[in-house]
């Protein structure tokens, strides 16, 4: 993890850092508190792990508080999470009462800091009711929804909505994930850290070592999908596409993911994948440990084409990672993948295994196009989806809210 903004100058250039420093000067000394439900694991913790130190480096007094809860509380918030994403989630009145009670306990612990802060960012639904429990708050409060709540299970949204509608603003990752709320709703896309283990440049030796470790043939094209073994990531569809490709081109496929074995649904999907892959030595199903970031990085760099054939997806940061490695991406036509994969420019959107196979074969027969597409994709990510842009959007929003300018134009 990098805690100084300066190290990113070589990647994004001086003007981008100049913008950040300019915003940092305007926000210097302001107290910003982020609240979420876990210090480790999951995308939100990953974001806060870099964002809080970088805000601090820019002169902002940023801190990160984590909810304390019981297993019953986290079971309820998991159900809320699922319900907001549209799955049926019947949450009893007693469970909602416990949700409120745990928020009250946390409010008792965190209230002085939250009420004094200039800005409070509440991440996801777990701490959402803290706002109502801090009646003497002085600053602006923002609710940050990291998930798609566009088609929620109504009973869950009806109960949660009164907690979030009183915030001063909310943030969604893409417009398609938002709900209409009676306050300004901002769109801030997620990002990747170009200097993290998962994305930093690797030496040729390290990349080749990973090729050797998994017995991949350097003389044949390699297709790679990195994702959990989850039905929505459609790993079986990827195998079907690969089998269609192999009829014409002697390719290899890596399906790499991890951490699914303790999840009954994930284990079932993995079993199905293993069964479909059985007997084909060119399909490599890899179960990687959670910290195998450099291995994933190397696999993406070894790939000729990165695949993310999801049938349902959030933003799709594995797509961003693949583009950053200058690889064309074949992506499912869904969610945030649509914002990143543009036909013929950064890759191809597909809806079926047949469509994926068609596009893979097209690319493998047009190597010059692959190189051009890869380079365009990398620059697209550099411009739009690196953490410096993500940080700038947050600081801009903070500045806009504190200066009361949320209408049209602000000068920093």
């Amino acid at each position: 993890m990098n805690t100084t903004i300066q190290v990113y100058e070589s990647v994004v250039g001086r003007p981008v850092l100049q913008q950040l420093r300019c915003l940092g000067e305007k926000l210097a000394g302001r107290r910003v508190v982020h609240v979420n439900s876990t210090r480790e694991g999951g995308g939100v913790a990953e974001i806060l792990n870099w964002m809080v130190p970088l805000m601090d480096d820019l002169g902002i007094d940023a801190t990160w508080e984590v909810m304390h809860g019981t297993p019953e509380f986290f079971a309820t918030t998991k159900a809320i999470h699922n319900g907001l994403q549209g799955f049926t989630a019947d949450i009893s009145p007693r469970a909602w009462e416990h949700y409120r009670a745990v928020n009250e306990q946390n409010a008792a612990r965190l209230r002085p800091g939250l009420e004094e802060a200039d800005l409070v960012v509440i991440h996801d639904p777990q701490p959402a009711s803290l706002l109502a429990l801090c009646p003497r708050r002085k600053g602006k409060w923002i609710w940050r929804a990291h998930i798609d709540i566009s088609h929620p299970y109504r009973p869950v949204w009806k109960t949660l909505r009164p907690f979030v509608e009183h915030y001063d603003a909310s943030i969604f990752s893409i417009a398609q994930f938002a709900q209409l709320l009676p306050h300004p709703q901002f769109i801030i896309a997620p990002s990747i850290d170009p200097l993290s283990e998962k994305n930093i440049d690797l030496s040729a030796q390290e990349i080749e070592a990973v090729r050797g470790q998994f017995g991949l043939d350097p003389s044949r094209p390699l297709l790679v999908q990195i994702s959990r073994f989850d039905r929505f990531k459609d790993p079986v569809g990827v195998i079907q596409a690969f089998q269609l490709v192999k009829k014409g081109i002697p390719a290899q496929l890596v399906l790499a993911g991890g951490g699914a074995t303790d999840d009954p649904e994930g284990a079932a999907v993995l079993d199905e994948v293993m069964e479909k892959a059985a007997g084909d030595p060119d399909i490599h199903v890899l179960l990687l440990p959670p910290d195998a970031h450099r291995t994933i990085n190397a696999l993406q760099r070894l790939a000729d084409i990165v695949i993310q054939k999801s049938t349902r997806e959030g933003f799709g940061l594995t797509v961003t990672e693949g583009l950053w490695k200058a690889r064309p991406v074949i992506g499912g036509d869904t969610g945030g993948i649509r914002l990143q994969v543009i036909n013929h420019h950064t890759g191809f959107l597909v809806s079926t295994p047949e469509g994926a196979a068609h596009r893979i074969r097209y690319l493998l027969h047009h190597r010059d196009n692959m190189t051009a597409i890869g380079n365009i994709g990398r620059e697209f990510v550099r411009e739009n989806f690196l953490l410096t842009r993500h940080l700038r959007d947050y600081l801009t929003l903070f500045f806009a809210l504190l200066s009361g300018e949320t209408e049209n134009k602000i000068a920093v």
Partner: protein
């Protein structure tokens, strides 16, 4: 001679508060109702939003008509609209409504977007930064533009037209304040058919016309 002050800018996108449109009639109703900032966003701020740089058309309504309503005739009619050719945003709104109304009158069925392909109405806050950099002499203009970010190009060449003096880019406005004959530079800048260029293309063309070189040689 006052130096040229170089600014940079970025956009912070926000929802307009309007419900998304699922068909052409809803697009028409939302265009009639939306604020001028929403109209400006979908026609003029597209080069700076995190979308891909080479869409078929330069405004979001034409792109939506082409890709999601699957109505190529409407897309072509909306796509040729040059927002900078209209004296004000209300004129632009009237022109868009005229095209949609004409098209609706020609169609027996209202075109619909498939589920998940609705059009979301957005607007942006423009955040302007003073870079602290200055251009002291018009001879240094091309070299300075060559080093500018896309945000600076957008601010000085496109967004400038929304500020007084209306319809004029900042480079031309600055050159007009200078003593001496600046006509060749002003004419060169005016020759650029910019509405259909990306910011990278505008920058490259500005540099080339100001230094008398072929833009894409």
């Amino acid at each position: 001679m006052d130096p040229f002050k170089i600014f940079d800018c970025t956009l912070l996108s926000k929802m307009s508060g309007l419900r998304p449109a699922v068909n052409l009639r809803e697009l028409r109703d939302r265009v009639a109702l939306c604020s001028s900032n929403v109209l400006y966003h979908h026609f003029c701020e597209t080069p700076l939003v995190p979308l891909f740089d080479y869409p078929d058309y330069r405004n979001d309504f034409a792109i939506w008509a082409r890709h999601h309503l699957r109505d190529e005739i409407l897309a072509e009619r909306l796509g040729i609209i040059d927002p900078y050719a209209h004296a004000c945003l209300e004129d632009l709104r009237a022109a868009v409504l005229e095209i949609i109304d004409d098209h609706l009158s020609e169609r027996t069925m209202v075109p619909w977007a498939p589920p998940g392909r609705e059009l979301y109405f957005m607007e942006s806050i423009t955040v302007v930064f003073d870079t602290g950099e200055r251009i002291d002499h018009p001879d240094g203009l091309a070299a300075a533009i060559d080093k500018m970010t896309h945000g600076s190009i957008y601010f000085h060449f496109l967004e400038a037209r929304r500020r007084p003096p209306l319809g004029l880019d900042d480079f031309t406005a600055w050159l007009e304040t200078l003593s001496g004959d600046q006509r060749s530079h002003i004419t060169a800048i005016a020759s650029i058919d910019f509405p259909f260029y990306t910011l990278a293309e505008i920058k490259k063309t500005l540099v080339s016309v100001l230094s008398n070189k072929e833009p894409f040689a």
